[in-house]
Symmetry: C2
Subunit: 145 residues, 2 copies
């Protein structure tokens, strides 16, 4: 990731932003690849995907019913759809055990594990900045009253 | 972020995942704060938010029409809504210049800059793993034929 284009940030702002970076995005990426990456990001930057990644990271191997309970607010239909998309993308492993009744378990694949780790900084960001966001919201709503 | 719960990953898998991490998520976070952070993540893990963060990172200060052109595929209505939400959350600064006609410009706030940086690893992940995802999709679709 090159330096941001706006030049009015303070050194402290830039240093704080830098503290959330680990890997640098290369500068010389083919525009065709850039479009592909952006399309792909649109799919992964999805609230349920991110919460399921986190839940499977913490939970290890979980049955559908356990996921449904731990991913608060998701409907069964949305959970089914999101898990199928994540399985198709190679992020989630679905294991069918031939018991009676049959048992289906979900876990992160090694690829899903790396995506979960890549989101780590965003979770840290949310933890460290949720108060700043709430303050901004109150100020914005107050200005409109 | 503590170690993942599933114990069957190889050392190489764990090392690769670790390469996408920079900051560690603390282990002793209050469950009430955890719920707040998860709710907040649901808002930021949104495809348009992520693409607008990236576009403003690269573009610096942009007019609405420039954003609309650069954020491929977004509708005017969705762009307006997403920018207003990001402004309310304190991520985006909206500047109204009293020219004729009036000019409105958008840029990342220092807070938005830090969130953009936090997403950096996810962009790097998408760049490095888009082929693996495509291969997984082809295999998944092939298995179902």
């Amino acid at each position: 990731m090159p330096a941001p284009a706006r030049s009015t940030y303070s050194q402290a702002d830039l240093a704080k932003a830098d503290s959330y970076k680990a890997r640098d995005y290369p500068e010389d990426v083919d525009p065709a690849i850039e479009r592909l990456v952006r399309d792909m990001m649109s799919g992964f930057a999805d609230k349920w995907t991110v919460v399921i990644l986190d839940t499977l990271w913490d939970g290890g191997t979980l049955r559908f019913s356990e996921l449904a309970r731990q991913v608060t607010g998701i409907s069964q239909k949305m959970l089914t759809q999101t898990l199928k998309r994540m399985e198709r993308d190679g992020l989630v492993i679905r294991e069918l055990h031939a018991s009676v009744p049959p048992k289906v378990e979900y876990s992160l694949s090694p690829l899903g594990l790396t995506l979960g780790a890549a989101f780590c900084n965003v979770w840290v960001w949310a933890l460290e900045n949720h108060k700043a966001v709430e303050t901004a919201r109150e100020q914005f709503d107050g200005d409109r009253d």
